[in-house]
């Protein structure tokens, strides 16, 4: 049994899903380096009877430039995003961080209600399954020990504490290991990881130590960007190389197999 913890996260009111086609927003790094996650996302949704579309004009949500302070440049990319997704009532994204960019930070870049409104339609995958569709059992099976890394943007900007836990709770055969200090940042932080590499790596090392403590074979997260950093550190050390990193979507469609 996974213990549910709640600590005054932001709360959202979700409109009812009425069978509309859902647009997939696949963040650029997932599109290019982790296509299996995007594929798994599409499968999870269609398995639930949700028609999906992938608007091929899509590129990026603008987060890297936004976090670097280049808002004029970000705005151009955000406008492109809004043009691409304008006609979709539901936009589902397999990343807490990119979802937070769209839903929370678009309005910092451009307060135009048309921009803000499109951003507000972006929903993170686990959030869509659990909070919108009300589905936590997707029929997954994964007979391995798993620990959950909680990405900060998903956790604190979107309040996504429960959805990933509810999904894992229903996975058959899973051994869930609670990650010590789960709320602490892994140190990725996008451009922070290369602008302040010393601090970023020190934070990543701590995260890795905590992961090792759980004894889990797999670290799962809603954010593969965090895991790109954490996994990069894990793979550098022969003693931790065996620990796998997986996105939640991959785990849910894995049918027991480890990546």
């Amino acid at each position: 049994m996974i213990e549910l913890k709640r600590r005054a996260p932001p709360e959202w009111v979700y409109p009812a899903y009425e069978g509309e086609t859902v647009a997939l927003f696949i963040p650029c790094y997932i599109d290019q380096f982790y296509p299996k996650i995007a594929e798994a996302t599409a499968r999870l949704l269609t398995d639930q009877g949700v028609p999906v579309a992938f608007p091929e004009e899509q590129t990026c949500c603008g987060q890297p430039a936004f976090n670097s302070g280049y808002w004029d440049e970000t705005r151009k990319v955000v406008h492109h995003f809004c043009d691409v997704f304008r006609d979709y009532r539901w936009i589902v994204c397999p990343s807490g961080s990119c979802t937070a960019m769209c839903r929370v930070f678009f309005e910092h870049v451009d307060a135009d209600p048309r921009v803000v409104e499109v951003g507000r339609r972006v929903v993170e995958l686990s959030e869509f399954l659990v909070n919108v569709l009300g589905v936590s059992d997707v029929g997954a099976s994964f007979p391995h020990s798993v620990t959950l890394h909680s990405g900060c943007h998903g956790r604190r900007e979107l309040g996504l504490v429960d959805p990933p836990r509810k999904l894992l709770e229903k996975v058959r055969g899973i051994t869930f290991c609670e990650l010590p200090n789960v709320e602490e940042c892994c140190g990725f932080g996008g451009t922070f990881s290369v602008k302040m590499p010393g601090a970023s790596l020190a934070m990543g090392q701590t995260k890795v130590e905590n992961i090792v403590k759980t004894g889990a074979e797999v670290v799962v997260s809603l954010d593969i960007s965090c895991l790109m950093h954490v996994g990069g550190i894990l793979r550098r050390n022969p003693a931790t190389r065996h620990i796998r990193t997986m996105h939640m979507a991959e785990l849910l469609v894995a049918d027991g197999k480890m990546r």
Binding site: I26, E57, E73, R156
Partner: protein, 479 residues
């Protein structure tokens, strides 16, 4: 010894040469103590079911106070002056120092006892006093240790967080000639013995102010050691220095802030002592110096105004994973941690502190714990935006060009695909390249690069997207 690991000048965000923090320089003692404190404080806060309501109320009171500083400060002044206090306004640190030095000279002061005050750190008051031959003695135990060691505070609430008991023992041995001990009780007794002499000798006491209450004209000072009580009452002259943002409207608002401050600062329900000073004791002098020193710059920027709500509890420092690894000195000025990163650029100029808003992974832990709900993570990105658009060391033409190109590439799918083709090619070649420059090297120094898959998702979708048809029916589809 942990102090050896800390180089006062080393590993600063603000050192141009290191261009960001290359290696963490904080001591292990500091990181562990900050983490322990943060966890404890969170559990104390979690025990209160209406904690979020308290935060919201405090945020609204501060919001009102900051919007009405002109009338509230005047009301405070009128009320406390009616009871014999002299209120002085200083626009800059220099003016405030001048006031203190004048008061010291007028009263033939040779020794000043100081209780903990961040604003006097801002003014560098101790150096100014020493320059005219007045001996300043920090009487808060943490500040006393830091002063003896010739260092600067690493934390706004617990200035000597980086020192272990053994460090303190060695310091007392070296500076005070006391026999070495690492026993807390004995260490406290040593400090007490030495400080008592200073309290008796001192001609003037200098303190900060935690809250200034407008409707009663009172200053509030909270502490745990009793030193502030002695500093403000033993000498014949008491000078209290406060920033303009310290005023709150009513005495009735105080309990809320005391509750929040003690729990967020030290995890206590209430500090050991809470002093309310309503005016000058007959036959003695009380001066209140109200200082701006850049605070009105924050007022001018509506997006940043919330930074003035800060009650200096230090919760965001303890919660910050970056602060825990670097310690306070890396932030280069008086206020470290997330709160420092959002107020220092306003107080000393963004050109002087442009790196600070970037010293964060934007994890949001600071905003989550702030008892007055300052939106610190969003303030950080707002300041990043300013730092790259105003004259500052973070305003690089090359970085701007990179983002311009990026924005150009991300605006059509064709350009996106071409860019990504190049990136994928680069990432396949990189593992064979022995040396990685710049930002790339910063990544690969400690982390493996992700493996590049044969195709992108969009390529896969073009082939297989059609096959993905909804499997189940009936989910709101009307079937």
């Amino acid at each position: 010894m942990s102090t050896d690991e800390l180089d006062l000048e080393g590993a600063q965000f603000l050192t141009r040469e290191t261009a960001g923090l290359s290696e963490p320089a904080g001591s292990k003692a500091l990181g562990e103590a900050a983490e322990r404190s943060s966890k404890h404080n969170r559990s104390v806060a979690d025990a209160i079911p209406y904690w979020q309501d308290w935060r919201e109320a405090a945020n609204q009171i501060k919001s009102y106070a900051i919007a009405h500083l002109d009338t509230l400060l005047a009301e405070f002044e009128r009320n406390i002056a009616a009871r014999g206090a002299t209120v002085l306004y200083a626009e800059t640190a220099e003016q405030a120092n001048q006031y203190v030095l004048d008061i010291a000279r007028e009263n033939h002061v040779q020794t000043v006892v100081k209780s903990k005050s961040m604003v006097t750190e801002e003014m560098e008051l101790n150096h100014k006093l020493e320059a005219i031959g007045v001996r300043p003695v920090e009487t808060d135990l943490g500040e006393y240790l830091v002063q003896l060691a010739g260092q600067r505070p690493v934390h706004i609430v617990t200035p000597a967080l980086h020192m272990t008991a053994a460090d303190c023992g060695h310091l007392f041995e070296k500076k005070l000639g006391e026999p070495f001990t690492a026993e807390h009780r004995e260490l406290t007794a040593i400090a007490r013995k030495h400080l008592r002499e200073d309290f008796i000798q001192a001609g003037m006491g200098v303190s900060g102010v935690n809250f200034a209450i407008a409707d009663t004209g009172s200053i509030v000072i909270v502490e745990n050691e009793g030193n502030a009580g002695l500093s403000t009452s033993a000498p014949a002259v008491h000078v209290a220095v406060m920033g303009i943002e310290k005023v709150i409207p009513r005495l009735a608002d105080l309990p809320l802030f005391l509750n929040l401050l003690a729990r967020s600062g030290t995890g206590q329900k209430l500090t050991t002592y809470t002093h309310l000073i309503h005016g000058a004791t007959p036959g003695r002098k009380l001066y209140v110096i109200i200082i701006d020193n850049g605070r009105s710059n924050v007022l001018k920027d509506p997006a940043a105004r919330m930074a003035l709500f800060c009650i200096r509890c230090g919760a965001c420092l303890n919660a910050c994973p970056v602060y825990r690894r670097t310690g306070g000195w890396a932030y280069g000025w008086v206020y470290p941690g997330p709160i420092g990163s959002i107020i220092t650029p306003h107080l000393i100029g963004i050109d002087q502190a442009a790196e600070l808003p970037f010293a964060s992974s934007l994890c949001g832990a600071c905003g989550e714990v702030c008892p007055v709900k300052i939106d610190i993570p969003h303030q950080l990105v707002h300041l990043r935006h300013r730092a790259v658009n105003e004259p500052s060391p973070m305003n690089h033409p090359t970085e701007r060009l990179t983002w311009l190109l990026w924005a150009w590439a991300m605006r059509t799918p064709l350009r996106y695909r071409l860019t990504m083709w190049a990136v994928r090619l680069g990432m396949r070649v990189l593992p064979w390249v022995p040396w990685h420059p710049g930002k790339l090297g910063a990544w690969t120094r400690g982390r493996a690069l992700p493996e590049v898959p044969p195709t992108s998702f969009r390529a896969w979708w073009r082939e297989h997207g059609e096959e993905l048809k909804p499997k189940k029916k009936g989910l709101g589809t009307g079937d």
